[in-house]
């Protein structure tokens, strides 16, 4: 009989996710699992609503990336209406999406991961936190807050509301941009560039101290993400590309509506989060990681041929040197990729705003139902997000399939924590170092699991070592 170790974030509210580490009879780690136990049933209760209400409903899936859900949803709506939206509307939606990247990536990097990354895992635990970060890098900490705020502010300027807005609608957007608003956004950009430059510099300097982690987080897998028709870095539209660990093109550019030919979702009875896998590589097999692919910042930089802006392309070149020249396979570098994407977003916003055409007030196309199916695919900060709707002739939703970014990474996250457990678990006792790395390993993907639910600020971890007869041999609690 196998022994099970359970790492459970004991929130005062029923947990949203927990980690179990399974040992085999010899005491070695056989597998680690990330359980997502929050069941939300969005796919069920969207049925029966008109498709044009969907952006308002689905953006409530998340409080961190509502913008991505709204955009995937309005794109599915555009497809149902069968319209090409006014060009300016598309540009405004893109700015909207890049602003979302800035705020979401900034939160992940500066607020959640920076203490570990900039101070190191071996830093005194008592000060390896925000306080320590502030003491050592006050400027980074201060700028981080302002960068996140800036992303939120751009969204607010465009949509009058930073969270759960209703600005993006099927057919376009509700209000155009005006010169005053444009100037306000433009005024914020220089500080953003400055912040990101500083962060990149610090992060790159820190790689040396993470040699172990870099290899532990390193495993082969496919990568998936949208690219422009020319193969460039893309976040809002484009073709879905799959590449291998060595950089080979598996599928150069799949049209959005054909995603089901490439992605299938498996379920496990211990998690509500589904397990999408790459279908052409044979049937689902979790233990062999067949069909496993990664999405998100790391994957996007791996699948694209180029970024398309001068500074981001420059960074991309140095990023690729960390891998085999084309592909970076260690999930540790999600952090680096995130910073490059913030830089890219800033450059693209600046470039798009420069053209006076952006102030045009023709921003919404009108149409009824012209297609009974609509697929909206965007790159959310955490990866490819797919909204797939079927409607009746009156536009009432009859079926919904949502594949969220965190889902795509499900297999990879399980793989990462298995690797960490194998490397850092000593005997049957859990060490502080292992705990830190399990936490960090999950955080590298910046998963969105606990959205809209409040948990105690500090999530203590409790680890129980349970012998085969069910008694607790050792209990380890931190926090």
């Amino acid at each position: 009989m196998a022994t099970m170790l359970r790492i459970e974030p004991v929130t005062r509210i029923e947990g949203h996710a927990k980690v179990s580490i399974y040992l085999d009879d010899s005491g070695a780690v056989s597998e680690a699992r990330l359980h997502v136990v929050e069941f939300r049933a969005f796919e069920k209760f969207c049925v029966g609503r008109p498709f044009y209400e969907m952006p308002g409903i689905t953006n409530r899936i998340c409080g961190i990336c509502p913008t991505s859900h709204a955009l995937a949803s309005v794109k599915a709506g555009d497809a149902i209406m069968g319209v090409a939206i006014p060009p300016v509307a598309e540009k405004l939606r893109r700015i909207f999406n890049w602003a979302q990247y800035i705020q979401s990536h900034a939160l992940s990097f500066f607020h959640l991961s920076a203490p570990d990354l900039l101070l190191g895992f071996d830093h005194d635990p008592a000060t390896r936190n925000v306080m320590g970060l502030i003491q050592k890098f006050p400027d980074v900490a201060r700028k981080g807050i302002r960068l996140r705020g800036m992303g939120q502010e751009i969204i607010r300027i465009l949509a009058d509301k930073s969270i759960h807005q209703a600005w993006a609608v099927p057919g376009g957007v509700r209000q155009p941009l005006n010169a005053e608003k444009r100037a306000a956004i433009q005024a914020m950009l220089p500080e953003g560039f400055e912040t990101i430059g500083l962060a990149l510099e610090l992060l790159k300097k820190s790689f040396a101290q993470f040699a172990d982690e870099l290899t532990t987080y390193d495993f082969p897998s496919l990568f998936a993400g949208l690219v422009t028709h020319e193969g460039g870095l893309e976040h809002y539209d484009g073709l879905l590309r799959f590449t291998g660990s060595d950089g080979t093109l598996i599928e150069a550019g799949v049209a959005n509506e054909r995603y089901r030919d490439y992605i299938e979702e498996a379920s496990e009875d211990w998690s509500y989060l589904k397990f999408p896998f790459f279908k052409p590589h044979g049937p689902y097999n979790r233990s062999e990681s067949a069909g496993m692919y990664r999405v998100g910042p790391l994957a996007r930089l791996n699948v694209c041929d180029f970024a398309g802006t001068p500074r981001a392309d420059e960074e991309l070149a140095s990023f690729r040197k960390l891998g085999n020249g084309r592909t970076v396979t260690s999930s540790f570098h999600y952090h680096y990729a995130r910073l490059i994407e913030i830089l890219f977003a800033l450059e693209k916003i600046a470039e798009t705003l420069d053209d006076d055409e952006i102030l045009d007030d023709w921003v919404r196309a009108e149409a009824g139902v012209n297609r009974l199916k609509g697929i909206g695919m965007v790159e959310a900060p955490r990866g490819t997000l797919i909204h797939d709707y079927s409607v009746d002739r009156n536009g009432i939703i009859t079926d919904v399939n949502l594949i969220v970014s965190t889902g795509h990474n499900n297999l990879a996250m399980n793989r990462t924590i298995t690797n960490i457990a194998r490397k850092y678990l000593q005997g049957d006792s859990v060490t502080e170092g292992m705990l830190n790395r399990v936490e960090h390993g999950i955080r590298a993907y910046d998963p969105c699991l606990s959205c809209s639910t409040h948990a105690v600020g500090r999530m203590p971890l409790v680890i129980r070592v349970i012998s085969p007869d069910g008694s607790v041999v050792q209990e380890f609690s931190r926090g």
Partner: protein, 152 residues
């Protein structure tokens, strides 16, 4: 100006006691040196509210899982120490928020945290009888606290 931040999720029963207490204090009125904010969870942007020029102190109002009841169950503690960020969430602890606020304003900000123990954190509205009792005690305690810090 004292900033009161009541946080928690009112749809998870006792978790809503923080916002409930904030609501009671806001409704009571009678003081113009209080600013009350209620949120579901603490997010980084709040640091900017904490760092506003007119804010001189902050009191966080929150629920806790201790399950105790009675007068002494409710505590007001000065905020101290900082813990690492949460593993899976995208929210902040009061202490983390305070660190950022102090960074932004460039000076220390006196801060306290009041916790109201609850027992029922399941789905649903309304507080358990125990949390309700604790809420009443917390209300009384805050009023005393408010009088005291004004004297300082």
């Amino acid at each position: 100006m004292l900033l009161l931040i009541g946080y928690g999720n009112p749809l998870r029963r006792d978790d809503g006691s923080g916002p409930a207490l904030a609501g009671m204090l806001a409704a009571r009125g009678g003081r113009d040196d209080l600013r009350v904010i209620t949120v579901q969870q603490l997010v980084p942007e709040l640091a900017q509210d904490l760092a506003a020029a007119d804010i001189t102190a902050v009191l966080f109002l929150d629920a806790s899982v201790s399950g105790c009841s009675g007068e002494n169950a409710v505590s007001i503690q000065p905020l101290s120490g900082v813990s690492p960020s949460p593993v899976l969430g995208h929210h902040f602890s009061p202490a983390e928020l305070l660190c950022y606020a102090e960074l932004l304003r460039g000076a220390a900000l006196p801060a306290w945290q009041l916790t109201i123990p609850g027992i029922d954190f399941g789905y649903g509205e309304g507080l358990s009888a125990s949390a309700e009792k604790n809420l009443a005690a917390a209300f009384a305690k805050v009023l005393v606290f408010l009088r005291k810090i004004t004297l300082q």
